[in-house]
């Protein structure tokens, strides 16, 4: 049975931790742990395969934003949270307008 192991990080005094701040901290630590341990670092094998095939590979962490309303769904990614959310906003905006044939 897996034991849930957690790391406690003391926050600076008087710091107000909002929902977005909490999300950011959780995402940051999850990303670090994923890079260090995820599935025996199989990503290294995929990278090597691609490089062996002549691909120049770059990778990095990215923001992903989703918007869902009823059956409508849009998602976008971006290097920053601004970029990801503005991407979703643009996609949603396209769908809000009517479209005559």
């Amino acid at each position: 049975m897996l034991t849930r192991r957690t790391l406690e990080v003391p926050l600076p005094e008087r710091m107000e931790l909002g929902v977005a701040d909490r999300e950011l901290l959780v995402a940051t630590f999850q990303a670090l742990i994923a890079l260090r341990c995820e599935k025996d670092r199989r990503w290294e094998m995929f990278q090597k395969q691609l490089e062996d095939d002549g691909w120049k590979v770059r990778w990095g962490l990215t923001w992903r934003a989703e918007a869902k309303r009823g059956d409508d769904y849009e998602e976008a990614t971006g290097a920053t949270l601004d970029e990801a959310l503005s991407g979703v906003a643009q996609l949603v905006r396209f769908d809000m307008a009517g479209r005559a044939p």
């Binding site: 991407g87 643009q90 996609l91 905006r93 396209f94 009517g98 479209r99 005559a100 044939p101």
Partner: protein, 418 residues
């Protein structure tokens, strides 16, 4: 078996979704026409009913060339001389001399450098952005561009952005914001199909020059009749040769069959020949349509009589509707929306007009924005003054029945809701 269960479940889910579309009043029903396209057609509606002759006010047959005898003759000759199908994409063994000829003639007609044919303008719009733009570029589109442009933008890797409909101040803000991108492309319809209004193409071209951006125009609802000689919105605004990319269709004024093209700077067209996926992986445009479209270009180049007639019809129809007390969208194109705001009212008015022998369709969300339900009337050069008189008499009777004549938007909304 799990697979069989999933397949059966899928059918149940699809049935439920279709029922929901019907329940929401959004189910699209086809009406069967027992005649060639024209000002008057024989329509079977509802399905199984005896066809009845009605006046057609909802086709994109702007120049009345869909069943023109000379176009039919040219298409027949094309069929005889070049066959029915090519069984190939263009670059393998699907390019005939007449494909090259049509591309040359379109280039000349639109005042560009080169042209490439597609099976539809939807294909052209789906192809272009992915073919020429990369993740270093940005596409800045009017928020009311055609659905096929939205699909094309979604397929491209370039950043997407939009500006408020025809708001040049907002477009300028966006162009300034994206100064750091390699290429900026401003994307617009020439004539917007919902409201029939024209893009401010002269201002767009000026802004594009100021911010070193390319301009893309879908002129499907303009080619053949907007502008003094029907060359489209660039001619109307005096910017012929200053638009980088024009897409247009042969499925509306230019014969009404199908097919479309990208016309523009030589390098962009050449890139599309190498990279545009709908061009590379879909059959060539049928020879019979190529032959018919060549004849259409002969006709529209030889005389402006049809586009002049259409202009007169559109102006007259707008005046007749206004005098009758209908709330219409102002403009100068042959797309004349009669605003009803309420979706059920739009459907009821369309149904009553059909009973009066006038074929129009009610548009409501999601085809148009919520609270913007309407009947979109479309004029044709094939309409006569007698047709317009007959149509307005029917509109007056139906408008009076529903108590909407002379009413403002607020009064209609107060009575029928949004």
């Amino acid at each position: 078996m799990a697979a069989e269960t999933a397949v059966l479940a899928a059918r149940d889910i699809f049935r439920a979704e279709l029922d929901a579309i019907r329940a929401a009043g959004l189910y699209k029903e086809e009406r069967f026409i027992h005649a060639p396209q024209g000002a008057e057609i024989d329509v079977e509606f509802p399905s199984g009913a005896a066809p009845r002759r009605v006046l057609n006010l909802c086709a994109n047959n702007y120049l009345g060339l869909s069943s023109h005898p000379e176009v039919l003759r040219a298409a027949h000759e094309g069929l005889e001389r070049r066959g029915y199908g090519m069984s190939s994409v263009r670059f393998i063994c699907g390019t005939q001399d007449i494909h090259r000829e049509l591309e040359r003639r379109l280039t000349e007609f639109l005042g560009t450098e080169d042209t490439i044919l597609f099976s539809s303008c939807l294909d052209a719009n789906a192809a272009i952005f992915e073919a020429i733009l990369s993740d270093k570029d940005v596409m800045i589109a009017d928020r009311l561009v055609h659905a096929s442009i939205v699909d094309g933008m979604r397929l491209a890797r370039a950043m997407q952005d939009t500006y408020k409909h025809s708001d040049m101040g907002h477009l300028e803000e966006k162009l300034a914001e994206h100064r750091d991108k390699r290429f900026r492309m401003v994307i617009t319809d020439g004539v917007f199909s919902m409201d029939g209004d024209l893009a401010k193409l002269d201002e767009i071209v000026a802004l594009a020059k100021k911010y070193d951006a390319m301009v893309f125009v879908d002129d499907s609802h303009a080619s053949g009749f907007i502008g003094k000689t029907g060359r489209g919105t660039p001619e109307h605004f005096g910017v012929t040769g200053r638009v980088d990319v024009i897409t247009t269709t042969f499925g509306k004024a230019l014969g009404g069959a199908s097919g479309g093209c990208i016309s523009g700077t030589r390098e962009i067209v050449e890139m599309c020949r190498q990279r545009a996926r709908p061009y590379l992986f879909s059959n060539t445009l049928a020879s019979v349509i190529v032959a018919g479209t060549l004849k259409v270009l002969d006709l529209v180049s030889a005389s402006t009589e049809r586009r002049d007639r259409l202009e007169w019809n559109a102006r007259t129809w707008r005046r007749l509707l206004t005098e009758a007390g209908f709330d219409i969208k102002a403009g100068e194109s042959p797309i004349v929306p009669v605003m009803l705001y309420n979706a059920k009212l739009a459907q009821d008015v369309a149904r009553d007009l059909f009973a009066e022998g006038i074929y129009v369709v009610g548009f409501f969300f999601p085809v148009v924005a919520k609270g913007q339900a309407r009947i979109r009337t479309q004029l044709s050069a094939a309409h006569t003054a007698e047709h317009l008189e007959r149509a307005i008499a029917a509109f007056r009777r139906v408008g009076a029945k529903h108590g909407i004549l002379g009413k403002t938007k607020n009064e209609i909304v107060e009575r029928y809701g949004l």
